[in-house]
Amino acid sequence: MRIFALAFALLLLGGSTYTLTAQPTGLERGNMAPEIKLPSLKGDTIALSALKGKFVLIDFWGTWCAPCVEEQSELARLYKKYKQTSFTNGTGFEIYGVAMEAKKPNWEIFVAKNNISWIQVSDLKFWRSPVAKTYNIQELPFNVLIDGKGVIVAKNLHGPDLEKEIGRYLRK
């Protein structure tokens, strides 16, 4: 009987600790970023949660979106610079590119032509993609920066602001 009571108390304690430490899933800074599981260009499904432990930029973009296309060279520079970097809450930098495409060929050609080496996924549903709804995307480009635990640290930063934010989390 005592053992059961002890086990019950431990369970309660564990539960309350979990409640205190776990972040709610949402779109605000400090929330756990909602899960994304989409097919890559090769057809295999890549989950955002599989990148746990890394500092990740979720980049929502499209080949039809001029400012997104312009931004890709800057992302390539950041990727190269920070790929192997240690952060305060994560090791290594990854970009999880979610292409809001309607057809595969445009996306495939663009990625190959521009030597994009980071993760690329798409459900080829354009603006009808459930991910657009989940992340409440109003326009492109849009991005979310998450730490090694999958917690949102910043949203929709571009150019120098994005790099400045990444810089805040570098391990010194």
């Binding site: 499209g62 039809w64 979106c65 001029a66 400012p67 495409e101 309607a102 057809k103 549903k125 354009f126 603006w127 009808r128 657009a132 995307i137 109003q138 326009e139 492109l140």
Partner: protein, 161 residues
């Protein structure tokens, strides 16, 4: 000394007038450019912009005369619309031309893209210019000022299967 002072005052006045004139001219040029970017260069009139709520009502009413709706963007999302493909590509513009060629000039036609705001959309202008050049008299552009997600999908308007 007095002569010097007068000369200086005169010089100051001239500089002020010239600065004022320069700012006035610069502001006029800027205003003219803005006006031209926002309205004059667009191949449609404000009357040709069709409110999503209006066409959604028509599409939901089977007894209402239905317009012919062409998607000239990435993907046909509006219920019953015909997928042409991005009108920025010549092959797709030709495809649209072939669809239009045998239609009566008074046909009720609606085109839409919805990828991004009109100012950045590469597809709406070629399609509207084509309709104008083919002398259609009753064609409209679906007014999706931000994009098809915000202005159509999120509003719950009818979508294709």
């Amino acid at each position: 000394m007095v002569h010097n002072l007068l000369f200086y005052t005169n010089y100051q006045m001239k500089t002020k007038i010239l600065t004022f004139l320069f700012i006035a001219v610069a502001m006029s040029v800027f205003a003219a450019t803005e006006f031209s970017c926002q309205g004059q260069s667009d191949p449609w009139t404000p009357q040709q912009l069709l409110a999503p709520a209006d066409i959604a009502k028509v599409l939901n009413d089977p007894n209402s005369p239905q317009p012919i709706v062409y998607c000239i963007g990435m993907q046909a999302i509006v219920k019953g619309s015909i997928d042409i493909g991005p009108a920025m590509k010549e092959e797709n513009l030709n495809k649209l031309k072939q669809k239009l060629i045998n239609l009566p000039k008074k046909s009720q036609i609606v085109v839409y893209c919805g990828c991004c705001p009109f100012s950045r959309c590469p597809n709406v202008r070629p399609a509207m210019e084509l309709l104008k050049s083919m002398q259609f008299t009753n064609y409209k552009l679906l007014n999706l000022p931000q994009n098809i997600k915000v202005d159509w999908i999120d509003k719950g308007y009818p979508m294709s299967e």
